[in-house]
Symmetry: C2
Subunit: 334 residues, 2 copies
DNA sequence: CTGTTAGCGCATTCAC
DNA sequence: GTGAATGCGCTAACAG
């Protein structure tokens, strides 16, 4: 049925060891023998069995990646960065959605480990001690991707969410805004939620603006929650002059909310967000936002992982990629 | 170093066969023995080696999926559908981007096959004879996903792109439009390109409207190409009263092009598209569009694959999922 | 219900 | 340069 290395050996009149050598590009084979073997391979349509190879060599050339949700544009972009670099280094990736649910995350980490992946890229919600516990049983490198653990003990690549938010709000302040509302993610989410909220607060503080609880609404990152949050702000006795949103999508919801209310962006209310997804420049007005290099986060973390897997020593196992303020049309000076 | 089934056997005072049985939930084990084994597993922190299992059982419980580009929202949605169902049936998926490039597609199919995947989901551009050739060497089931081969010989799940486009244009016609332009995808693309263009033409024909070449522009599915195509139409001596776009994204570009030109959607020009991505309802005016059930395409194709892998007999190996016209705000009656 | 015995297809010493 | 032998960790008959 399936043709093995044995069949090729017989066909070529050599030993299986020799076939193995040519398949693995081992230089210690006479060119003529190599040729014979290649011909036999061709004739038989031999295809190496990577599973057998994996068992014998203890390497699978595949890495596991756990991701919250591949249908989310942000993560899909990271995934593409991961896959491109993985491909470049001849790794394949096993992709698992875990929806930021701790139980599911830990479960998939374990099945990935059972599959003997050579390394793991973890992208999730909070990294708890239970996660760390599961990671510890792995004897392959693991790097956190767009996620960090509070202890800061694991290799990771991310951006500085707090600083990104800070910069966004600071930009608003520099444009003369003093009453700035925020549409936040859930505060349970350490990166997209809590950290960005902290950045907002710190920017306010540094500018001597009093923090006002009624100026903060928590959304779920989605368009609709942006709409709802903004509706709330619009009905406040003292409307904010600017709104900072933790994601582009909620920002777009906010813009539409404002427009439906009969006001204009940015003439009446400015809107600023974080992400710079493709959508940000596909709406009118185009969104001013802080760009996060999602593709790069994926690419860099995968690159880091390859180094770890090859046991090369890395100087910097925790890297923070720079963010960048992109000024477009949704903010105006007061 | 790594603890094997042998170690567990010794620890539990049973044979490796018994350990294998409990790990694989074989009922033929006395509860008490089972308990002993579980305890040994726990104590030793044993984790089954799926690679070894794969070699011995000739099943890997992983399927390969080749996809054009995971960072494209459309495909990411399909991928999510695939993964959800895969997960449900305890399969993992190896994800490979192939950018609709034939050489890359064939290459990844081969490496996926080397990895002994139990099945393959193929999502790509044109399925050529070379593809078919590569597929033929596989001795695992393969199903095409959001793609079909012209010969119609392979299992596949897709929507009827021609009919979807036809229905979209017909809806425009029923609203009284007679001069309808189209922003098409490349005609080399059999599904999103050629088929939708054919649907457009047929709808015109059926309504007795003459086909006008200058009313068709080919885009690349992206926002900017929608902007450009629309600019062209706007400068025509006789402007169309409606525009049909092969994708949401180009449609949004068209809308903005129209607005920038000083006209209104749908008051001055109606816009209709195909896709119904999340974005369609995140722009103003909300896009009227023909919905494609991308998630379902992924889910159904994965479900079909599981049946094929289990050698269940399937009545219908080629399934066309229904599309649906979603009327929102970008079309008005003439 | 449980143990023994063979492989699964290949990489990898170790000889020659 | 090349071949023979061994084992990777597990499943799957086959006995008992």
């Amino acid at each position: 049925m399936t043709v093995t290395i044995y069949d090729v050996a017989r066909e070529a009149g050599v030993s299986m060891a020799t076939v193995s050598r040519v398949v693995n590009n081992n230089p210690n084979v006479k060119p003529q023998t190599r040729k014979k073997v290649f011909e036999a391979i061709e004739r038989l349509g031999y295809r190496p069995n990577a599973v057998a190879r994996g068992l014998a060599s203890k390497k699978t050339t595949t890495v596991g990646v756990v991701i919250p949700d591949i249908s989310n544009a942000i993560f899909a972009e990271v995934a593409r960065g991961i896959e491109d670099i993985a491909n470049m280094y001849h790794y394949n990736i096993i992709l698992c959605n875990a929806d930021k649910r701790k139980d599911k995350e830990i479960r998939v980490v374990n099945t990935l480990l059972e599959k003997q992946v050579d390394g793991l890229l973890f992208m999730g919600g909070t990294v708890t001690d239970d996660h760390l516990q599961a990671f510890k049983t792995a004897n392959v490198p693991i790097v956190l991707c767009a996620t960090t653990d509070e202890h800061g003990t694991m290799p990771a690549v991310d951006i500085d969410h707090e600083a990104a938010a800070y910069d966004a709000v600071k930009a608003l302040i520099e444009q003369g805004h003093r009453s700035i509302a925020m549409i936040s993610g859930t505060l349970q989410d350490p990166a997209n939620g809590y950290a960005r909220f902290q950045g907002y607060k710190r920017a306010l503080e540094d500018a001597g603006i009093a923090y006002d609880e009624s100026y903060v609404r928590v959304g779920n990152y989605r368009y609709e929650s942006g709409v709802d949050a903004m509706k709330y702000f619009l009905e406040l006795p003292k409307r904010p002059s600017a709104v900072f949103s933790a994601t582009d999508e909620m920002a777009i919801g906010a813009v539409h909310s404002i427009q439906d209310f009969g006001l204009k962006v940015p003439e009446d209310i400015s809107v600023m967000s974080v992400d710079n997804t493709r959508m940000a420049s596909m709406v009118r007005p185009k969104l001013s936002t802080v760009a996060q290099p999602m593709y790069d986060i994926g690419a860099v973390s995968m690159r880091l992982l390859t180094k770890l897997m090859k046991k090369e020593n890395v100087e910097q196992a925790r890297v923070i990629l720079p963010h960048e303020l992109i000024s477009r049309q949704s903010v105006r000076a007061l």
